[in-house]
């Protein structure tokens, strides 16, 4: 599973390393409430909030649950839920 010395031989392979498993809280985005201000998009440290078909979406494969997005949203369109595993 791990190379000797934890060496990573393949550039760009971090895309395969899904970091969403760290999450304790899961941000849920209410697309109806969202005013597309881009705050969450700008502040998300993982870059996992992306615009798709004119709406913002959270990529849970990489969301670590820091909830910065929830704090920054001016219209409270993002709510935190405990992650169910």
């Amino acid at each position: 599973m791990v190379n000797t010395g934890t060496i990573i031989y393949e550039p760009g392979s971090s895309a395969n390393n899904k970091t969403g498993s760290w999450r304790v809280f899961k941000p849920i985005l209410d697309k109806e409430k969202c005013v597309m201000c881009e705050n969450c998009y700008i502040f998300c440290p993982e870059g996992c909030i992306q615009e798709k078909n004119g709406k913002f979406e959270i990529d849970y494969d990489y969301c670590k649950g820091c909830l910065i997005c929830e704090r920054e949203c001016p219209v409270k369109a993002i709510k935190a839920e405990r992650e169910e595993k």
């Binding site: 599973m1 791990v2 010395g5 934890t6 060496i7 990573i8 550039p11 970091t19 498993s21 760290w22």
Partner: protein
């Protein structure tokens, strides 16, 4: 064909690094290791050794530079002692985790406080769990031979772990003894060239080393070190056998050395230079018709516990000598490790020579007598003043 020089233990280590044709040395001087890195600086400056000598401002930097150089694929050597080794503590774990085959000489010395520059083995034993292979030498010849072997062990593809060769501060570091220096061509033929397959710098093939290992990976990396330690047990024996065959010198089986163990019911377990004195006591007692024995541990990590158990199977009174103390448990570190696997054996722990206190021939005699009558599991601080 060989050359015999009368040199100190630190010089023997430096000569061995030179014979191994190291590419990089990064070191900071600390008593009683200083003369080793001075000697190496001399070799580099007078052109006897073609290596990069990195002068650093601390041991933390020394080990960091060594990790960088070894990760780039260079054969790397450093030396330290006591507080210096303690200052490396953080990066020792990185070296083991990154699986870089650095070889380091450590001059065993007490840890502060009080400030004390003399010998005991607290420094390296406190780094027991860092993932470094640990070898302890009895005399200066063994220092030289162990450093040469260390490169071959560390660079073995089934091991790839850093190796620490320990010698007792002052007792070996500053004592001159005749040491046989093999020819460099024979040493290099023995070790081979280091051609790292797992880690080296190549701008055309960029790799990431020292990456974050989140909870998904961390346990596996530690387990991999444990498996490498297991492999190392066999590699150490093989390397030692090959060395013995080629250079006609050996130290037990490379992991442990048994001295008069077959007939002895009373046995001392010890590491390092004290084994010389113990052998003298055994020889003297043999002349009087008394059979006592020594189990010398040459390799403390990996600890060849099955071999130790087997070697001690006939022993009735086992004295474990410790030049270290696990404070709050009142036991030496070697004792705790060895005894944890021995069942139904009488063992007594002797804490000796802390901070450089002399351990004499008479002290060893006293231990052999004392252990026969002492109760099981006792700890005795030998010669403690009231």
């Amino acid at each position: 064909m060989c050359e015999i020089k009368v040199i100190t233990g630190t010089s023997a280590a430096a000569e061995a690094a030179k014979l191994a044709d190291v590419d990089v040395i990064a070191a900071y001087p600390i008593t009683p290791q200083t003369t080793c890195v001075e000697k190496l600086a001399e070799f580099v400056s007078n052109g006897e050794l073609d290596a990069e000598y990195i002068k650093v401002e601390s041991e933390h930097s020394a080990m960091s530079a060594c990790i960088g150089s070894s990760a780039a694929g260079a054969r790397t050597f450093t030396a330290t002692s006591s507080q210096g080794l303690a200052l490396m503590h953080e990066v020792l774990f990185s070296a083991a985790g990154m699986r870089v085959p650095i070889v380091m000489m450590n001059a065993n010395r007490a840890l502060s406080s009080p400030i004390n520059i003399w010998n005991d083995q607290q420094d390296s034993l406190a780094e027991r769990d860092s993932g470094w292979i640990q070898i302890y030498a009895e005399d200066n010849q063994e220092v030289l031979d162990s450093v040469i072997q260390a490169f071959k062990i560390a660079e073995n593809e089934n091991v790839l772990l850093p190796v620490m060769v320990n010698l007792d501060g002052f007792i070996l570091t500053h004592t001159v003894e005749p040491v046989t220096l093999p020819k460099q061509e024979n040493v290099l033929e023995f070790i081979g060239t280091y051609e790292p397959k797992h880690a080296y710098l190549d701008p055309k093939k960029p790799i990431t080393q020292g990456a974050l290992g989140d909870p998904n990976y961390y346990m596996e990396t530690k387990y991999a070190i444990e498996m490498a330690m297991k492999n190392a047990e066999k590699v150490i024996v093989d390397v030692h056998d090959e060395f013995k065959e080629k250079f006609k010198r050996g130290y037990g089986n490379g992991l442990i050395e048994c001295y008069n163990l077959e007939k002895a019911e009373t046995v001392i377990v010890a590491m390092g230079s004290i084994c010389g004195t113990i052998k003298d006591v055994i020889d003297a007692k043999k002349k009087e018709g008394k059979e006592i024995g020594l189990l010398k541990i040459r390799c403390f990590r990996p600890l060849p516990i099955e071999m130790i158990k087997d070697a001690l199977k006939n022993a009735k009174n086992i004295a474990v000598l410790d030049k270290s103390i696990s404070l709050g448990m009142n036991k030496g570190i070697v004792y705790v490790d060895v005894v944890s696997s021995l069942k139904n054996k009488k063992t007594v722990n002797y804490i000796v020579g802390l901070g450089g206190r002399d351990i004499t021939f008479e002290d060893i005699l006293e231990i052999y007598t004392d252990v026969e009558t002492s109760e099981d599991g006792k700890t005795i601080w030998l010669g403690l003043k009231e």
